[in-house]
């Protein structure tokens, strides 16, 4: 699962200019909150809206999960990842470092 890995990265770089936001796409609030509590997630955790306020597909055409964007200081989506396998966090960390140093 990706989010616990993101928590590790967050703890490492939170004081170096990184922020992390996770949006739960389908408003399964009960299961989401249980997971967040169990994994002690402490970055920004937001809920998608319903209907016209729905942003995941509406704004970004994202229909597979997890889908992760790495966005630079100017607000450009520089990297995109779909899915998550063990070890992917190594590549993600490299990309974050590159953008933090830029």
């Amino acid at each position: 699962m990706e989010l616990p890995r993101l928590e590790t990265i967050w703890q490492k770089y939170r004081d170096k200019g990184l922020s992390i936001v996770a949006v739960e796409a389908f408003r399964d609030r009960e299961t989401a909150l249980e997971f967040i509590k169990k994994e002690n997630l402490s970055f920004h955790l937001l809920e998608n809206l319903e209907g016209d306020g729905e942003i995941v597909y509406g704004n970004y055409k994202v229909s597979g999960f997890p889908s992760t964007f790495v966005i630079d200081r100017n607000g450009k989506a520089v990297f995109f990842h779909y899915g998550f396998s063990e070890g992917d966090e190594v590549e993600l960390e490299k990309q974050i470092l590159k953008l933090l140093e830029d």
């Binding site: 699962m1 990706e2 790495v70 200081r73 989506a77």
Partner: protein
Amino acid sequence: MAAKGWALVNLGKVDEGLDVFKKAVKVSPHFFVGMPTSDLDIYWAKTLLKSGDFGQALERIAPKAIMLGGEEAEELLKQAYVGKNGGDAGYEEFLWTKRMEIAPAFKDFTLPDYEGAEHKFSDLKGKVTVLSFWFPT
């Protein structure tokens, strides 16, 4: 539709195939980072490579190869680059420059957290941000 264009190309009807691609790109769904979600760009780039049109092939396949990855798209991008430049010198630098050129501005949004407080994404500007869309399984 993209597959139909590719079939025409394979029958030797390259111009007709390219016409189909040009129509297909207008109607195929596009991923946020800009490229059609179908295999259209793969077929289109292959066709341009066959015709020796390396520059156009490179522009066609770059968004898919760089933003989404995938072995076939990456291979086609490299072929286009080598064809255009006569070798792979400078390829890594090219990939980075092109990525920064392609990377779209991220559309802003406002969403609530679990306490009901609203958060505007653009308030994080100036930071490097990881944004993940997920659902609990």
